[in-house]
Amino acid sequence: MTLRATTWQTVGPFFKIGLAWLYREDLAGAGVPGERIEITGRVLDADGNTVPDAVLELWQANSHGKYAHPEDEQNKPLDAGFSGFGRIATDDQGRFRFTTVKPGQVPAPEASGNGGAALAPLQAPHINVSICTRGLLRRLVTRIYFPDEAANATDFALSQVDPTRRSTLIAKRSTGAASKLEWDIVLQGPSETVFFDI
């Protein structure tokens, strides 16, 4: 008989004392190849109030589309100094910010007939996100995708999502620098972000 996975519990309001030692808001140090980007945003609750006590964890492939993990057996280079992990907290205005390189494309599972739509063998560039806050009894999981990305149209995960809600997963270009993106997380409400059951 198999065991059962341990139950999640909320991080509560005081997670900073335990998690701050591993905050990583710059995922790609100097010398890591790729297109430099900055992503900023806010975490909002059902009333549109900002959430000043959220912690986000980020997990992404490098610019070649390879994860720094032994189960990524693709014949692509790893980059010294790039682990693909980030951890950031919202500030007292509910805002977060991180800098990284734009991830490359990673493989999709073998074509799964999603309503007959032809899905690409590669996923569109994306960053995997876990969100924890006081009030969340377990984490929420979502993804950040990129605007003006042709691969979004045939992406494996986006294709699982109601087309009217896909835009919640796609960052917006900030006015000004092309490298700056904005992406808000709405925990509940009409413009609620899509969260995945993984």
Partner: protein, 240 residues
């Protein structure tokens, strides 16, 4: 390439729902839409790998982070990180944080009128050994009141964060202490429907790991999602 090996989904009822109204903070923060089922891809079956260079080898002992010892009952918290099939998970990062023995966190927003302890910060980390074992030395956290409802008290608990081998296995939970009468009225402890599942959050007093004349031992094993028995490719035999 080897076939993708997805992780098993949580067993029904063993995880809290997002909305648990007795926990008031969940009411405005729980999503209202059904989560979108996502079959695992390479993004979910990989995850951050932390090496020894990250680990402060002294960070497992929360009683030795300051010039003097913290006040409180010294305890050892130890156990194994395993998966649902009983496989040990070596070299995985475990982080903890907790209140001091008076029930006060060393955090600026904790307004509980209980003393801070200048010799206790309440955080630590370690990495599991080759057999998946971890061990912390700390002091027993105190219970504390909170604003959730009239006369609300949190049962004594230690927050525990574990990564496991993949993004899909990430876990943050709380460990409780046997016999604590506050658990019964704590909506956070009670938020999981399955009684057996929530009772597994209670550590076991353990004489074996007690250090004579020094500290009591509590055992707490952490179970991460196992691998799905059905390889993903079997769903798509036509492509083979």
């Amino acid at each position: 390439m080897a076939p993708l090996r997805p992780y098993r989904r949580y067993h029904s009822g063993t995880q809290p729902d997002y909305l648990h109204s007795p926990y008031v903070s969940s009411q405005k923060r729980a999503p209202s839409q059904r989560l979108v089922h996502l079959p695992h891809t390479i993004s979910e079956v990989t995850g951050p790998v932390f090496g020894d260079e990250l680990i402060d080898v002294k960070a497992f002992d929360l009683t030795k982070q300051h010039s003097a010892e913290p006040i409180g009952e010294r305890i050892i918290v130890s156990g194994r990180v395993i998966d649902e099939d009983g496989r040990t998970l070596p070299r995985t990062l475990v982080e903890i944080w907790q209140a001091n023995s008076a029930g006060r966190y060393a955090h600026a927003i904790d307004q509980h009128d209980a003393p801070l302890d200048p010799n206790f910060t309440g955080c630590g980390h370690t990495i599991t050994d080759a057999e998946g074992r971890y061990r912390f030395v700390t002091i027993k956290p105190g219970a504390y009141p909170w604003q959730n409802h009239y006369n609300a008290w949190r049962a004594a608990h230690i927050h525990i964060s574990v990564f496991g081998p993949a993004f899909a296995t990430r876990l943050i939970t709380q460990m409780y202490f046997p016999g604590d009468p506050l658990m019964e009225n704590d909506p956070i402890f009670k938020c999981t429907a399955d009684e057996d599942a929530r009772n597994r959050l209670i550590s076991l007093f353990d004489l074996k790991t007690t250090m004579p004349l020094h500290a009591l031992g509590y055992q707490f094993d952490i179970v991460m999602s196992g691998r799905d028995a059905t390889p993903f490719e079997e769903h798509h035999g036509a492509h083979k």
